[in-house]
């Protein structure tokens, strides 16, 4: 036990001091935070002030002023035709020229097809979309007028339903926001997939390194091969947990920052305006934070840590066995395929499971131990029946113990074999070898 502990300590300390680990651990969350923060930050940057020259021959746009950074400048249709307007636009500094032709018979479709936007270089998509939106709106108004409908009446009758979905389970009413739960399920399942692959491969590489550097015979004359294998697997589990923990701390910091920067100002704004003119956007943000508050995080994190750890351990044992059987990494291909198949299958089923967490596919794949760490994590945020969770956990635990035994038998034969590339069948034979 003392020796296994020494091995665990070595595996842990040599790896966490590696530059690649430090960079990944710190850069990982910063990069993923940047993916969220950067677009939001860019959106708050002031845009260039732009002016669009408009030649509105039918006077359809009611001299609409545009918006803060995008103003419309109207040319009097009596003095300008399209040629003159173009000349004016070319001399000036305006961003674009919008031309709306008059129709002789008041057919709004003439405006639809005839309107043109001239520019000097490529135009920003945002501007194009804005102008198009404006045209849609005003041409629609024209069409309504032609049909004898007052656009004001239509505006007043416009309705937007906000359906509140309430989850009645467990006797307490919680506002259900499946999207948030799906998000949590997806992220945690994907994290498990990621960690299993990255750290499983590291176990394998570590075993191959011991073989190729020929330290392994010195080691197994000192400790049992099983201790050496277990030490490596558990040492790397510690590294993975540390990295995850650092990421969680970053995540919490990021969440609280988001809370104070996004939610608090909006709450204040809501208090200041009792008439409650909050837009739909703000409403969704409120409800996301509300749902996050309602979610049982200790439960989810507990489940996550379990599936994270044992999912990794199960696969790490298999990866260790593969590493022991080969001399170099390029020989691992034939074994990697059957081992990574269930992981990839788990990822595919994950989407189905998020969509229908109580369906038979989700159920079976969350009990089968090779896919359960991924698929069960997709289901956990959606109140899985306890017995299903327990069955899944126990199956995983038992499979892990069995797999450690099998891997240990392959490992102890494999690490002392050099030269020939074994076939899958031989690996299975090694399991039954006497020591």
């Amino acid at each position: 036990m003392h020796k296994t502990w020494l091995i665990i300590k070595r595996e842990f300390s040599t790896r966490v001091r590696k530059k690649s680990f430090i960079i990944m651990t710190i850069l990982g969350p910063i990069l993923s935070a940047a993916i969220f923060i950067l677009p939001a930050y860019l959106a708050t940057l002031p845009e260039d002030n732009r002016v669009i020259t408009v030649l509105d021959e039918p006077g359809m746009m009611d001299l609409d002023k545009g918006k803060e950074n995008l103003k419309f400048r109207y040319l009097p249709p009596k003095e300008f035709d399209l040629e003159k307007a173009k000349e004016f636009f070319e001399k000036g500094d305006d961003y674009a020229l919008l031309y709306i032709p008059a129709s002789s018979n008041n057919d709004p479709d003439i405006m639809t097809y005839g309107s043109k936007l001239f520019c000097k270089s490529d135009i920003s998509l945002g501007v194009e979309a804005y102008v198009q939106g404006k045209l849609d709106k005003y041409i629609q108004n024209e069409k309504l007028k032609a049909q004898g409908v007052d656009p004001d009446v239509l505006a007043r009758t416009k309705t937007r339903v906000k359906l509140s979905v309430i989850n009645l389970e467990k006797g307490k009413e919680t506002e259900s926001l499946s999207a948030v739960k799906m998000g949590i399920g997806y992220v945690s399942a994907f994290l498990i997939y990621f960690f299993v692959f990255v750290y499983g491969a590291q176990v394998m590489r570590g075993v191959i390194e011991e073989k190729t550097s020929r330290i392994v015979e010195v080691m197994v004359s000192t400790v049992k091969p099983f201790q050496l294998m277990a030490g490596k697997i558990f040492g790397l589990a510690g590294v993975a947990l540390l990295q995850f923990l650092v990421w969680v701390v970053f995540g919490i910091a990021f969440y609280s920052a988001a809370l104070s920067f996004i939610l608090v100002p909006k709450l204040d704004a809501a208090k200041l305006t009792p008439t409650n003119v909050s837009t739909i956007d703000q409403d969704i943000i409120f409800r996301v934070f509300e749902t996050i508050d309602a979610i049982n995080f200790p439960y989810i994190i507990g489940c996550f840590l379990f599936f994270f750890l044992f999912g990794y351990l199960l696969y790490a044992a298999m990866f260790a066995a593969i590493g022991s059987a080969v001399d170099k990494e390029s020989d691992t291909q034939q074994f990697m395929f059957p081992v990574s198949m269930p992981l990839v299958a788990g990822l595919i089923v994950l989407i189905r499971a998020l969509d229908n967490p109580d369906g038979p596919i989700a159920f079976w794949f969350s009990v089968i131990p090779f896919t359960s760490p991924i698929v069960m994590m997709a289901r956990v945020p959606f109140n899985v029946p306890i017995w299903e969770l327990v069955v899944s956990m126990l199956t995983l635990l038992a499979t892990f113990v069995g797999m450690m035994w099998v891997a240990g038998r392959i490992y102890r034969t494999g690490i002392l074999m050099y030269g020939k590339k074994p076939k899958f069948k031989e690996l299975l034979k090694w399991i039954t070898y006497k020591s």
């Binding site: 091995i7 040599t14 550097s213 020929r214 330290i215 015979e217 010195v218 080691m219 000192t222 002392l416």
Partner: protein, 299 residues
């Protein structure tokens, strides 16, 4: 008293017979040569002694008791396939390996310091192993083998890969350890390389022990009564009463003779030779281990 006793050990790998009823006794303080060609079963036997694998039948006793896991602390093993963690610092690596052999952290530190000073390699303590030259790494490897002061040192092909300077250094270190009371087992297929240091040997071929005992006794048993003599200022000889002439070689002032003794008395031959000139040297030529081995296998 024998420190290691191998009793009828057999090991089979599927159809391949690695060891068949091999028995050995290694005396405390002996320098023992485990000899045989490649694939004879030496490494299989050593792996069993080191508890890397278990025998299919038979037993191994260390100091009269069956092997147990903690015995690794009594054995220092330098395998034929040897290496170190390339990305680990020399000092940390030695510390780690010493602790794995049951040394406390404090003792391990003291030992690492002592051995690094003894080999004059203190300056490498913070270097990664991959930065070391092959010769440097070999020294570290040797330190790793002996750092826990093992009573039994098992060296599998110890001199392959070592340059001549390191070979001599390691040889003299091994002899020092022997003088301090350690028992040493050399395993090698290059029999001439251990002839001068081993006092006992066992010859293994195709998984079976074919010969064992004190080196001098074995050589005596296999001697073929061949003598080499150098006569000063003599002409070539026609024939001798006491011996048959195998060959003779005349140089400026010297006649070198290779003779096979006909009687059991070498004095008679010496006296007869003196009649032909001044006898500068006269010695019996003992067979080399290689010759003994070939003879034994061919029989």
């Amino acid at each position: 008293m024998s420190i290691l006793s191998v009793q009828e050990v057999s090991k089979y790998y599927r159809k391949h017979r690695a060891l068949h009823k091999v028995s050995l006794e290694v005396e405390q303080g002996a320098t023992f040569g485990l000899l045989g060609p490649n694939g004879a079963g030496k490494t299989s036997l050593i792996r069993i002694i080191n508890q890397i694998t278990a025998p299919d039948s038979g037993s191994v006793l260390l100091k009269g008791k069956a092997l147990k896991p903690n015995d690794v602390a009594l054995i220092g093993y330098l395998p034929e396939e040897r290496g170190l963690y390339p990305k680990m610092k020399v000092g940390e690596q030695l510390l780690y390996l010493a602790q794995l052999r049951n040394l406390s952290k404090h003792d391990a530190k003291t030992k690492v310091k002592y051995w690094m000073q003894r080999f004059e390699v203190e300056a490498w303590v913070d270097k990664n192993v991959e930065e070391l030259s092959k010769g440097m790494a070999q020294k570290i490897q040797f330190i790793a083998t002996v750092i826990h002061q093992p009573e039994l040192l098992i060296l599998d092909e110890p001199f392959t890969g070592f340059d001549p300077i390191n070979t001599n250094l390691i040889k003299s270190e091994i002899l020092k350890l022997r003088d301090d009371g350690a028992t040493i087992i050399f395993s090698t297929h290059r029999m001439e390389s251990v002839e001068e240091i081993c006092d006992e040997i066992a010859l293994i071929n195709q998984g079976e022990k074919i010969l064992s005992g004190k080196l001098q006794d074995i050589k005596h048993d296999y001697k073929s009564n061949v003598f080499v003599a150098n006569l000063h200022n003599s002409t070539e000889l026609q024939n001798l009463k006491a011996a048959t002439i195998i060959s003779q070689e005349k140089s400026k002032n010297n006649l070198k003779l290779k003779l096979r003794l006909n009687t059991s008395n070498s004095n008679a031959l010496a006296l007869e030779l003196m009649e032909y000139g001044v006898l500068n040297s006269f010695s019996e030529e003992l067979p080399s281990l290689n010759e003994i081995f070939i003879k034994k296998v061919q029989n």
